[in-house]
């Protein structure tokens, strides 16, 4: 019981530190850094779900931009075209993405290896094409503009500073949910499945049911992040939800390390900061460097990070912590 109390204390401290840091940033940061943080927060929500799927259920989705986009479009259509209250569109977006994920996942999660990856890759492309082609509902390639802001009573949520609390609130919620899940018996079952599916099934763990549940949950996270994104930028267009975006989501999880939850925010931050940093600093280092050089550098930096830290950027830190606690044990 002592450990549980310790855990609760630690969780409480982490949450308090988190809230304090958030308040400090919201007070001190300029609008550019606030917008960067908001984007990181939204991507964190997607990456947390995806890291549950990849690190704990051993499956990959190459179509999460499809779920992210579906959430965004559901929110956009319901609020801008049908006049729904913004907050009501959020559960609608989450439920719809989860339903689609369930329909696609039901037959595919039973298959091993890369099959879910392939099916979701296909789904992502199909969703993107429907966004472009279904003019009457989605507005075609120009998308939907004029999404009304979220409102709390008479106050509307506008401005980067106010959004910081929504995006990072959602990120914290996603992290907390994921943390509860992986430390529960279900989390142990998921790790067993990722380790060896036949062994897990031999122990009576219904592997495909668990895998499906995690896949549907991760799609729901992406749908929620997408819906929030729609209200945050107030317009949606298909170009934000292409295949490369799906790849970037997976990249965030891999760069951060799929096997620890803090990998998701770390990976999201690294990918956003890398892309922003290349845009901001490369022209200073290489005069006249245009978008193409930035693309080369972005790709090369991702390659270098993955070659140096194939299991995620947090591995060194975890090993250091492990070593330190080992030394403690020996000296004690």
């Amino acid at each position: 019981m002592a450990t549980r109390a310790g855990n609760n204390l630690r969780t409480g401290l982490v949450a308090a530190g988190f809230a304090a840091a958030l308040a400090l940033v919201a007070w001190g940061a300029g609008p550019y850094w606030l917008s960067v943080l908001n984007v990181i927060g939204l991507y964190t929500v997607v990456a947390v779900g995806l890291s549950l799927l990849m690190g704990y259920a051993g499956q990959v989705s190459l179509g999460h931009a499809g779920f992210y986009g579906m959430g965004a479009y559901v929110a956009a259509v319901l609020s801008a075209k049908l006049g729904w209250n913004g907050w009501l569109t959020l559960p609608a977006a989450v439920l719809l993405t989860m339903a689609v994920a369930w329909a696609v996942g039901l037959p595919t999660v039973r298959l091993r290896e890369h099959y879910l990856a392939m099916a979701t890759l296909g789904l992502g492309v199909v969703v993107h094409i429907v966004m472009v082609e279904w003019d009457a509902v989605t507005g075609g390639s120009s998308g939907i503009v004029g999404i009304p802001p979220l409102a709390v009573g008479p106050w509307t949520v506008t401005g980067e500073r106010a959004w910081l609390f929504i995006t990072w609130g959602a990120a914290a919620l996603a992290l907390a949910m994921a943390h509860r899940l992986v430390t529960s018996p279900i989390g142990r079952a998921l790790r067993a499945i990722a380790g060896s599916e036949p062994a897990a099934e031999a122990l009576g763990i219904p592997a495909s049911r668990y895998k499906l549940a995690v896949f549907v949950l991760s799609a729901g996270f992406a749908g929620l992040a997408g819906a929030l994104y729609a209200f945050y930028v107030t317009f949606v267009s298909p170009s934000s939800f292409g295949v490369m975006m799906s790849m970037q989501f997976v990249m965030m999880v891999v760069v951060g390390g799929a096997h620890r939850l803090w990998g998701a925010p770390a990976g999201a931050a690294i990918l956003v900061l890398l892309s922003e940093g290349v845009k901001a600093y490369l022209p200073a280092l290489l005069p006249g460097a245009g978008g193409e050089v930035q693309l080369v550098f972005y790709g090369l930096l991702l390659v270098v990070i993955l070659l140096l830290k194939p299991d995620g950027v947090l591995t060194g830190w975890a090993a250091w912590r492990h070593k330190r606690s080992g030394e403690h044990a020996r000296t004690a």
Partner: protein, 293 residues
């Protein structure tokens, strides 16, 4: 033109596209079976081939030299990707290696934009002249070239697998990696050679498609994904089946674009992918129990 002629015409254009998808798909299958890596930079190799061929032909090089150089450049780029990215990460998780190929693909796309610029490059058809009339429909000479080069290439590939040491080693490695190692076959050397061959095929696909669609720096993403879909439809473990899958995909796509809607044609090929995964996850022909041949 009556309905039957329209369909025939669409089938012909589908065959052209299918032959090109087939070349990309075989590159995918080769690398996947030898290294276990789904190489998402495959389409980029084809883009490199297309851009090189078009760029050289605009500078007045004879056509055969453009094609040969395109194949060589794509093979060298593929070899570079293997040595710089895949080889150092050979002990990493498969997912990390796949992400590495995506990163390499992004860098290659940027490099292509840097070297060749954002505008599409045009390339003349391999043979000028009147299209051939068949049953009211017409076949472009480029279609004939695509099919002939495709067949020639597969004949060469077959000879490579049956007659050369490296080809046999690749086969042995696919059948039983452990036993192949016991016979002194080095998986790292195979990984290198399979990237070279696969890059060369994709480069050829790019050179053939350039006169039809033009060559742009970002054409690789869609070409690579179509090759991937074709490979999955055929069954990822079987190069011949991947070819049939590719031709099938090309024809279905052309028919969908011509008879239903050109905007949704790409969606139809990916719906086909999902349907295949649901109904015949191991490919059209393979036995259900075979995980990887």
């Amino acid at each position: 033109m009556d309905y039957g002629t329209v369909v025939l015409q669409l089938v012909f254009s589908g065959l052209t596209v299918g032959a090109i998808y087939a070349l990309v798909a075989v590159g995918f299958v080769l690398i996947y079976n030898v290294t276990g890596v789904l190489n998402f930079a495959q389409g980029e190799f084809a883009a490199v081939g297309a851009l090189t061929a078009a760029w050289l032909s605009m500078r007045g090089l004879p056509l055969w030299a453009c094609v040969v150089l395109a194949v060589l450049v794509a093979a060298v780029v593929a070899a570079g990707v293997e040595r710089a990215v895949v080889h150092p990460a050979r002990h990493s998780r498969p997912m990390t290696v796949i992400m590495l190929t995506i990163g390499a693909g992004i860098a290659l796309r940027g490099a292509a934009l840097l070297v060749f610029g954002p505008d599409p490059l045009a390339m003349p058809m391999f043979t000028e002249g009147e299209p051939i009339a068949v049953g009211g429909a017409t076949i472009l000479w480029q279609t004939v070239w695509a099919l002939v080069l495709c067949v020639l290439f597969f004949a060469a590939l077959l000879l490579f697998f049956e007659k050369t040491y490296i080809g046999k080693a690749v086969q042995a490695n696919v059948m039983n990696r452990f036993a192949a190692r016991l016979y002194g076959i080095r998986p790292t050397a195979l990984s290198f050679w399979v990237f070279v061959v696969s890059g060369a095929v994709s480069g050829l696909a790019g050179a053939v498609v350039a006169p039809i669609t033009g060559a742009t720096y970002d054409m690789g993403l869609m070409l690579g994904m179509k090759g991937f879909v074709a490979a999955v439809i055929g069954g990822l473990n079987n190069a011949a089946a991947a070819v049939v899958g590719a031709v099938l995909l090309g024809v279905v796509e052309a028919l969908a674009a011509g008879l239903l809607s050109s905007g949704y044609a790409d969606a139809i090929s990916f719906v086909l992918l999902i349907a295949m995964l649901l109904l015949r996850p191991m490919g059209l022909w393979s036995r259900a129990e075979g995980k990887r041949v």
